[in-house]
């Protein structure tokens, strides 16, 4: 096959490594990210109640303004300060 000019940025084809798993939630700062789909908040309220009953975690509630755009920088920087983040998809 001849050499073609690629439309693809090869850097985007390299798989991103998964973050190391946490040994325990205890003592962690846990982000709960509501992507702003309907009922995301109610779902995460329940998740927060269950997790805080079982683990010694500091919960941080995060919210995207809209599900259809990438998270804005302030939400991402807040997420970076968490040991783990749960993302709620809903509808």
């Amino acid at each position: 096959m001849p050499t073609y000019v690629s439309p693809i940025d090869d850097r985007t084809r390299e798989p991103l490594p998964a973050a190391p798993r946490l040994a325990s939630l205890d003592g962690q700062r846990l982000g709960l990210l509501d992507i702003a789909k309907p009922r995301s908040r109610e779902f995460l309220d329940r998740v927060e109640a269950v997790i805080t009953a079982r683990h010694d975690v500091e919960v941080v509630r995060l919210r995207k303004p809209t599900p259809s755009r990438p998270a804005p920088p302030d939400v991402l920087s807040e997420a970076e300060r968490c040991g783990a983040v749960l993302v709620a998809l809903a509808d």
Binding site: P2, T3, P7, D9, T12, S68, R69
Partner: protein, 508 residues
């Protein structure tokens, strides 16, 4: 297929015509088939029956020689495709005198020679008969080459008229220049389901016409790829664009990459959203866009390929690949391409881009994320008011008939030329039609609540006064482009995606 013994064929001329071998030497059939019995196989790269036959013969061990019609690159391809590297191959260029002398009217033709005389002749594929010929030539046929027991052949190049032969030669010349093959692009996955033009270095260089290939337009999601001129040009070549279209392609690419347009979300959504591109200004005619009948349909290279280039950019470079990160539930034909020029010359209104603040005489592209076009057919309204009422009903149905109000984005009304004339004759401006559509698409909440639909917006569902009126859309959200053929009272409504994408206009 002819099962005839062609004793009438005088092969003498064929056997002594010097032809190039693949290793560059010159030889005749007689040179390569010494001895009493041998088989000549005339074949052609573009003929599936020929390729199957060569696959079958590749390890048959027969005393044979292959004559490949066309240029040496075609013969190289034929050998590579069929793993026939061990077979002696002679290249027969136009006008194919050897094929003519052997009466090889069909590809492949098998000619059995004994002492320089033709003793058997077969055209097309018949496994049993070829097995006999191979056996008489000292080999054994063990495969059908993937073409079964019987398969008709293809027309020999020497039987075409001179004009067709010249075209076939030109195709070979393009191949020889490293033009690439459509088949390669299927393998690479660089397509939208339709064939694409191979983005060779020559073609990409022609598209860029001296521009710096490393110029960056920024990052494009969902995979955050860097869009360089080179990658955009590769998409434009793949889509079939002429290099003259580049300024429009570049402007459209910059527009869809504007964060306000939100290409990341447009590429990922489960809905129909995809860029609709409206072109205004002199560039429309400079690059030969169609503003007439079938304006959003097939038939014009610029209309079709500019929109396709932007789609391929989102899909290939941006990573919004159908079935991958593009999870659109139903997709839509507009996701192959959706680009058209406004027919400013037939419009009673000022052009779209000048209505948005761009100077007269400039060219611009306007992109908005939209759904498939919903038709409005009104052949009987006599007045502007009547026609506006029909169009307002269609506006009210956009997205979903219960979507009140439209959450955001812009609705594109593609106003057919004949419909536009009705408004022009009545002296209506763009603003007046907009106002009429905004007013005419309002609903009483009681009317929406009475539908029984479970998809009412929270605002409508919660309303307690049935006479409260809710607007479908604001004047700012309504975009009107006049275009299309002279005849036919048709328009179309392109519903917006919603609040997560905004229209962007960029000058060309």
């Amino acid at each position: 297929m002819a099962h005839t013994t062609r004793e009438d064929v005088d092969a003498t001329a064929a056997l002594t015509t010097p032809l190039a071998a693949l290793d560059g030497r010159v030889a005749t059939i007689a040179d390569l088939l010494p001895g009493t019995t041998g088989l000549v196989v005339v074949a052609e790269r573009d003929c599936p029956t020929s390729r199957g036959a060569l696959r079958a013969l590749a390890d048959a061990g027969a005393h044979l020689v292959v004559i490949s019609q066309g240029r040496i690159e075609a013969a190289q391809d034929l050998v590579a495709d069929t793993a026939a590297h061990d077979l002696p191959v002679l290249v027969e260029p136009a006008p194919h005198p050897v094929s003519d002398a052997l009466a090889a009217a069909t590809m492949p033709t098998f000619v059995l020679l004994e002492d320089g005389r033709v003793v058997d002749h077969l055209e097309g594929w018949d496994r049993a008969r070829v097995g006999e010929l191979v056996a008489r030539a000292g080999g054994r046929l063990t495969s059908d080459g993937g073409i079964g027991e019987v398969k008709p052949g293809c027309q020999s190049r020497h039987t075409f008229d001179a004009a067709m032969q010249r075209r076939l030669e030109a195709d070979d010349a393009v191949l020889a220049a490293g033009a690439g093959r459509v088949e390669d692009l299927w393998e690479l996955g660089w397509h939208d389901g339709l064939p694409v033009v191979p983005p060779t270095r020559d073609r990409v260089a022609a598209m860029l016409d001296g521009r710096d290939p490393q110029t960056s337009l920024g990052l494009l999601g969902p995979v955050n790829a860097e869009v360089t001129f080179e990658r955009l040009a590769a998409c434009a070549v793949l889509a079939g664009c002429h290099p003259d279209y580049w300024p429009v392609v570049e402007a459209a690419a910059r527009a869809v990459m504007d964060p306000a347009f939100n290409p990341h979300g447009v590429s990922n959504t489960t809905s129909w959203a995809s860029p609709w591109i409206v072109v205004n200004g002199p560039v429309r005619h400079q690059i030969g866009m169609n503003t007439g009948s079938n304006v959003i349909g097939p038939g014009n290279r610029a209309n079709a390929t500019i929109g396709r280039a932007i789609r391929l950019l989102l899909q290939l470079t941006g990573g919004g690949s159908p079935g991958g990160l593009d999870q659109s539930a139903l997709g839509g034909q507009h996701k192959f391409t959706a680009c058209f020029p406004e027919r400013e010359e037939a419009s009673p209104f000022e052009p779209l881009h000048t209505s948005l603040g761009h100077r007269e005489g400039t060219s611009a592209v306007t992109v908005l994320a939209g759904e498939p076009p919903a038709p409005v057919n009104d052949h009987t309204s006599q007045t502007a008011d009547e026609l506006a009422a029909t169009l307002a009903l269609a506006v009210g149905n956009a997205m979903s008939p219960t979507t009140y109000p439209t959450p955001g984005g812009e609705l594109l009304l593609i106003l057919g030329t004949e419909h536009a004339r009705t408004f022009g004759a009545a002296g209506w401006s763009r603003a007046r039609l907009t106002e009429a559509l905004v007013a005419g698409s309002r609903r009483r909440v009681g009317e929406l609540q009475a539908t029984g639909s479970g998809a009412l917006t929270p605002q409508v569902a919660a309303a307690t006064d049935p006479d409260e009126v809710v607007a479908k859309i604001t004047a700012d959200q309504l975009v009107i482009a006049v275009t299309g053929g002279d005849a036919g009272r048709f328009s179309a409504v392109v519903a917006p995606w919603g609040r997560s994408s905004s229209m962007v206009t960029r000058e060309v």
